[in-house]
């Protein structure tokens, strides 16, 4: 019996492509093929691989022996070695990473391992270009090494191409190109427009301690359990022997490199001449909405949790660029800042798999800010400071973008787009997004370049708009030492340093709470349900059985009038 594991939940192989933009369209063929079955005179190779320039396409064209129906013989190790050679690397430099949890098995059953495989581990410029993963269990309860999902970087198109082999018996497999079944799970939030959204590799548990992943050598694995009966299975044993088996720490850096590369390509779209509102809006979407999500966990029994569980990590970099000085915000702005919780005596008590803003979003945002004619850091800061206590899944922030996006599809801007580049539209569209019923949220426009609206509670957005229109927003309250806060206000106006102190106060109040662990667990449970409902590529998350399936991100935020 073959277990039909849920492909959509594969953690890594998120090579998704939505052919929505000139810059991101997969080369189309004029014949549609399904699972290796082609009609017409054109051969499978020509139909499916024309215009593709990635390692997998090269392999298929030159060494696979694939027939006219997309069928050939292979297995994971063989394919991995062949792809390494095509990339100009020693096959011995291939790596296998293992995650083991209950994502793909029925409730109550033992965990089953899944692999992510790479090539060229010693080549920094190539190690992130090819990913393979066998997502299924064979009838011997071993890893099915013929059913393989994979993607590879296309040098010409500057994006990932996605493929899948399906076992056809013995070593025989059929190859599918850009299978539809993978699209949804590899896009961003389910309620989001995916227009111009590039595909991304996803490693949900990207940061230490890499919950459920093998972390050795060098680190202790956390919640990574391989069932005894699987450990001795031939495929699993062969794939996880040294030197193939590697630490999740190595995969983290590989994935980050891929994220950076994709982000760079995406940022380039701003330079395109003949400006496009939809393209430029897509460039701004990750500033407001969470296209990807990551998950953080307490490290071992240390009681230490990454600070991005409560403060968006991009704030650290943005406020550094804005010139926060001295002591302001020293706790949360520190690279290695952690929340220190009390020591726990059992794994059940740990804060585990807490959704946080996706690192790929953060990487992209910082690239857009750094780029010439990109996004002004003060504008990015203002966006984060709206509902800043909600570092991820802010329906307020995201609805500002989605409602503007919808409006601009019918209400065209009075601009000569042909004479502009996309980067010319960035400040214009930011103003569109951040103007509510004629009220601007951009203090920077009023020559207040160092000041921001700080909204402590997203539900007070309407009140903030009203106060802005009445010019009655109060300043942050500062003590004699210059430390400022607006904790007692729903919103206030503050400088860069004020903001740093306001966030510092928030972090300190969290840490000082006697119920901090319970508070964080409650927040974690809430986020987990959002992640489960709104992100098809969510990982296995314990304690999410009670969650509903309706994505709350579909709910429009009530802060904007309907006729805006």
């Amino acid at each position: 019996m073959r277990f039909n594991l849920r492909l959509t939940y594969l953690l890594l192989l998120s090579a998704v492509w939505m052919g929505c933009s000139e810059a991101s369209v997969v080369p189309e063929s004029d014949t549609t093929c399904t699972v290796g079955k082609c009609d017409g005179n054109q051969g499978w190779l020509e139909v499916n691989l024309s215009g593709r320039n990635d390692a997998i396409a090269t392999f298929l064209k030159t060494e696979s022996g694939v027939d006219e129906d997309g069928v050939f013989e292979t297995n994971l190790s063989t394919l991995q070695g062949q792809l390494a050679t095509i990339q100009g690397c020693n096959p011995a430099d291939s790596r296998n990473f293992v995650i083991s949890d209950q994502l793909l098995v029925a409730a109550g059953e033992e965990a089953f391992p899944r692999l992510v495989s790479t090539v060229c581990a010693k080549d920094a410029e190539k190690r992130w270009q090819v990913f393979l993963s066998p997502p299924e269990m064979n009838e011997d309860r071993d890893i099915d090494v013929q059913t393989i999902e994979m993607f590879a970087w296309d040098e010409d198109r500057q994006g990932f191409n996605f493929y899948k082999t399906t076992a056809e018996g013995g070593e025989t497999v059929s190859m599918e190109v850009e299978p539809d079944e993978c699209v949804r799970c590899h896009l961003g939030g389910d309620g989001l427009s995916v227009e111009h959204m590039p595909m991304l590799p996803v490693m949900n548990e990207l940061t230490q301690p890499w919950e459920h992943w093998n972390a050795a050598p060098g680190f202790d694995s956390q919640q990574h359990e391989i069932p005894e009966d699987v450990k001795d299975k031939p495929n699993y044993t062969a794939l996880t022997r040294q030197p193939w088996l590697a630490s999740a720490s190595e995969l983290e850096s590989t994935i980050r490199k891929a994220h950076e590369t994709v982000a760079n390509q995406r940022v380039r779209l701003r330079r395109k001449s003949g400006a496009s509102v939809s393209e430029t809006m897509s460039l701004l979407r990750p500033i407001f909405c969470d296209e990807q999500v990551n998950y953080v966990s307490e490290s071992g029994e240390s009681g230490q949790l990454l600070m991005n569980a409560v403060v968006d990590v991009s704030m650290r970099e943005i406020f550094s660029k804005l010139g926060v000085i001295g002591e302001a915000g020293k706790k949360w702005r520190d690279l290695n800042a952690r929340i220190r919780l009390s020591k726990v005596s059992s794994t059940e008590q740990r804060i585990s798999m807490m959704p946080v803003r996706g690192e790929s979003n953060v990487i992209y945002e910082l690239s857009l800010i750094a780029a010439a004619r990109g996004l002004e850091p003060a504008l990015a800061a203002q966006v984060r400071l709206l509902d800043w206590k909600t570092p991820v899944f802010s329906s307020l922030r995201c609805s500002l973008w989605t409602q503007t996006d919808e409006r601009l599809r019918t209400d065209r801007l009075d601009l000569d787009l042909e004479s502009l580049r996309n980067y010319d539209l960035i400040p214009i569209l930011m103003e569109e997004i951040l103007s509510i019923d004629g009220v601007s949220l951009l203090l920077q426009k009023e020559n207040e370049k160092d000041r921001f609206y700080i909204l402590n509670d997203g539900s007070q957005f309407k009140a903030l708009i009203a106060a802005i229109s009445e010019d009655s927003v109060e300043l942050a309250v500062c003590d004699e030492m210059g430390k400022c806060a607006c904790d007692d206000l729903p919103f206030c106006i503050g400088s860069v340093d004020d903001v740093a102190y306001v966030i510092e106060n928030h972090v300190e109040s969290i840490l000082a709470s006697p119920t901090v662990r319970d508070d964080l667990r409650k927040e974690r449970n809430s986020r987990v349900c959002t992640a489960k409902a709104c992100y098809s590529n969510h990982p296995f998350i314990e304690g999410s059985e009670h969650c509903g399936s309706i994505c709350p991100l579909d709910d429009a935020f009530a802060g904007r009038s309907t006729n805006n």
């Binding site: 050598p217 060098g218 230490q304 690239s367």
Partner: protein, 375 residues
């Protein structure tokens, strides 16, 4: 053997230990660093709390510092060591900075001079940020994947004056900068062979004499039952700093060697682990490697061959995009991108240690390799 630095250090610490605040402000280990740059400048700093933190990270987190044949920690500084007021990073017997040539302003243009960012000097450091023109930003974006700079990690001890054998022919260069002691040797006063040697010696001596805080054996909840915690508190008394991974790990290993009867002479023990420079056994510094092994570096990193196989200078790639996206603090990128996986190693000559705990208070906790601290 004369130990002027050690004596001064010890005297300062001994005479000021009644006042924790005074202790920290007078500690010469941090006398070149600005207020607010280190964890113990926090008005709420407590050695015990810090040791709980460090223990949590080192023993209860998921990193493996204590191995049979190596003691190790990463180059990344702990939380609290940052750029507030002054850049104080590089406190784990490993300093790091960025090196690059000023990028051109146009395609086909010439690169400018070679510079370093965030490199420690005798006082202060070279600038942290790189100001880019719009044209330079576009250039870097157009060369986003090209390697246009390097993160430099060095564990070359500040008191090691060894020549660079490779320079007998042609000195290796990093981003156009020839390797020399001025730029590639550590600068912070505590990143030296002597400091490490004396830390070992002092922590061994404490173990041999029994003159350190040990807690109550009858109280199972006493935190001093933890080998690491006990050593962490001892670290501060021994002239190290209890919030550093390196100092506490070195002291823990040393204390356990003595508690478990593996050594009977502190000077000998220190010489085995950290040979004093300028003797026949001198070395340049603790070798750098990765978590996988002492000689496996993360992808994108390589050793600068000094000609002595010391493995003390490592460079890691910085791409055009790295420089563009992190121009305000490239050293920070070196820390976040690489420093967690560049690992300082102290090889342990296991054959030199045979342990006979005798009647030591902690004899029952000693294994065959008690320097593998697990609790």
């Amino acid at each position: 053997m004369k130990k002027p630095i050690f004596i001064v250090l010890t005297l300062v610490l001994v005479f000021s230990c009644s006042s924790q605040t005074d202790d920290q402000t007078q500690n010469p280990n941090i006398n070149n660093l600005g207020k607010g740059d280190t964890p113990n400048n926090d008005p709420n700093f407590s050695i015990e709390e810090t040791c709980f933190d460090r223990k949590a990270e080192i023993l209860k987190g998921n990193r493996e510092l204590f191995l049979s044949d190596n003691l190790r920690w990463s180059c990344s500084d702990v939380a609290g060591v940052n750029t507030n007021n002054e850049d104080s990073r590089g406190q784990e017997y490993c300093e790091y900075f960025a090196a690059l040539r000023i990028p051109p302003s146009e395609e086909g243009g010439l690169f400018g001079e070679s510079i370093t960012l965030g490199r420690n000097l005798e006082t202060g450091s070279t600038p942290l940020s790189l100001t880019l023109t719009e044209d330079q930003k576009f250039y870097l974006e157009d060369h986003d994947s090209d390697v246009l700079g390097s993160c430099v990690f060095t564990s070359w001890h500040n008191d090691s004056n060894l020549e660079i054998p490779a320079c007998e022919s042609e000195c290796p260069q990093v981003q156009g900068l020839p390797i020399d002691a001025d730029k590639f040797r550590m600068k912070l006063p505590f990143n030296g062979n002597e400091a490490a040697n004396y830390l070992v010696e002092d922590c061994v001596n404490a173990g041999l004499s029994g003159d350190y805080e040990k807690g109550k054996l009858t109280d199972e909840l006493d935190p001093y039952h933890s080998d690491y915690f006990r050593a962490c508190v001892l670290t501060d008394r021994a002239g190290g700093l209890s919030w550093r991974k390196s100092d506490t790990a070195v002291c823990a290993l040393s204390m356990r060697l003595s508690e478990c009867g593996c050594v009977d002479d502190a000077v000998d023990a220190a010489e085995l682990l950290v040979p004093i420079v300028d003797t026949q056994n001198s070395f340049r510094g603790f070798p750098l490697g990765g978590w996988k092994s002492i000689n496996s570096l993360p992808s994108g990193c390589s050793y600068v061959e000094l000609g002595d196989n010391s493995g003390t200078v490592v460079v890691c790639d910085l791409s055009g995009n790295d420089i563009l996206s992190n121009s305000n603090d490239l050293k920070g990128l070196c820390r976040s991108r690489y420093a967690d996986n560049i690992v300082v190693h102290i090889p342990i000559p296991t054959q030199a240690f045979t342990c006979a705990p005798g009647d030591n208070q902690y004899a029952s906790t000693c294994t065959d390799e008690p320097w593998i601290v697990t609790q």
